[in-house]
């Protein structure tokens, strides 16, 4: 299949190879959570809720001098094109969410000094999946953590890139993602310019991999500047509401 038109150089959905889908972030979408955010990348839509910092529920999990970050990832039944018949408790989902949780512990090395309040729960709910759910989840979680007022060293953003029809492509959608080509997902601590997540699931020559990874990093930076805008906007609104 031709994923990049040889005539115009455009992709299926009309984007250029290095163009991202439309992104949208919204803070404070849930009233009951300590921090919450909605993040959309094209048709992919994720809600993140953060509860905490609170007391560690299971004392055996407590680690001194470090926050306990837990994460649960769930996909709504209607999030994919074909309705998932299996209700919750799918093994795949459970292992995926454990996998996700461990990533976040690395990603958000929360270095705040709350005395006894050390547990942070991040719950991610995928409302629509159209490729790049992992990236969207990380971006949503970043916004939600900021909304919860948890001090972070830096903001983490994520973006994916792939390689199809001998062209590096930024931010794959579902069709491109399931084409079987490599899919490189990068998580980046933007200010420090350090990578916290790097994943690839197919083979790729080393020199091309560098290009693809570089493209994903550029994507992360673009998302970071958008997230900063959203946070700034939110802070301004809060300031306005306080009436200084």
């Amino acid at each position: 299949m031709e994923y990049v038109s040889s005539l115009t150089g455009f992709r299926f959905d009309g984007r250029r190879p290095n163009e991202m889908r439309q992104i949208r972030g919204e803070i404070g979408v849930l009233a009951k959570a300590d921090g919450s955010a909605l993040f959309e990348m094209g048709n992919t839509k994720v809600i993140a809720a953060v509860f905490g910092p609170r007391e560690v529920q299971n004392k055996s999990q407590q680690i001194d001098n470090q926050a306990l970050v837990r994460c649960e990832y769930s996909m709504a039944n209607f999030s994919t094109g074909d309705r998932a018949r299996k209700p919750k408790g799918d093994r795949n989902i459970i292992s995926y969410s454990a996998d996700h949780g461990s990533k976040y512990i690395n990603t958000f090395d929360a270095s705040f000094s709350g005395k006894n309040l050390k547990q942070i729960d991040i719950f991610l709910q995928v409302l629509q999946a159209d490729g790049g759910t992992r990236s969207a989840c990380i971006n949503a979680a970043t916004l939600a953590l900021a909304d919860a007022g948890i001090p972070m060293r830096d903001i983490v953003t994520s973006c994916s890139a792939g390689y199809l029809c001998s062209t590096p492509l930024l931010d794959l959608n579902y069709v491109e993602d399931s084409a079987g080509g490599p899919d490189v997902t990068v998580g980046l601590l933007v200010k420090m310019d350090k990578m916290t997540l790097l994943q690839m699931d197919a083979k790729l020559p080393a020199e091309i991999f560098t290009d693809v990874m570089q493209l994903a990093i550029e994507g992360c930076k673009a998302i970071a500047s958008y997230i900063r805008e959203v946070l700034l906007e939110n802070t301004k609104t809060l300031e306005c509401m306080r009436g200084s």
């Binding site: 009951k32 048709n43 769930s74 039944n77 999030s79 919750k88 719950f123 991610l124 709910q125």
Partner: protein
Amino acid sequence: MVGLSAGEKQFMHGGIAQDLRSDGRQRLQFRPISIQTGVIPQANGSARVTLGTTVVIASIKAELGKPAPLRPDKGKVVIFIDCSPTAGPMFEGRGGEELSSELSVGLQRCLLGGKSGAGAGIDLSSLVLAEGKICWDLYIDGLVISSDGNLLDALAAAIKVALSNTGIPKVSVIVEASAEDQLEVNVSDEEFLQFDTSGVPVIVTLTKVGRHYIADATSEEESQMSSAVSVSVNRHGRVCGLTKRGGAGLDPSVMLDMISVAKHASENLIAVLDSEIAAAEAAEDDGS
């Protein structure tokens, strides 16, 4: 879980007794409802209902299937509710399962009618394309995103709105004489049929707190309830289903009183939903 101090409890009980609740509402007043339709483009129909700070999403998906052998002239409708952990840490892991299945059963009772499919809010016969061979299977998925009490009413409202937003592709069955079981169908991707949702009921839950009952309880108020009665009422004022929760017993006369009050409250709710549906549809048309 909601923890209330003795003072807060007394304040709440006193307020309810004086017909002025903690958030300024009267006993039978609902929180403001807002509705958005078409929130899940991948589904045939969807809606998000926000009731105060309770947020639920309902999505309707239609798939071609085979009618059950015992009821060849009826389509199938499945209701599945899920409580997302974003609504609270208590729904983490399998924590939400009990509440989810309780809500699913409650909605099935109110929307789907008896085992034979008679008296259902959704006309199951209209889902059949070829008797005994092909029908639409309707999957109704509800997702609780934020939970602040009165989930059942919010979910029923979301399902009602989502059904009115649902377009099912028009299907023409190509008569094939040679094959016995296999029928060929032609699913149109241009023409859509709208559902008749006039028979779909709404649910009004009356929660008994102390000596009085209140409509649209918040989670704080629900934590103090002795029992709750969920009555589903359709447009014609007919009671379609009834669920009582909570351990405390109710006097039959109080029960009858509650049913008639719920019936009255449902008229307002249906009117509000109708106007919100019209507004949401207008907004969606503008957007596209």
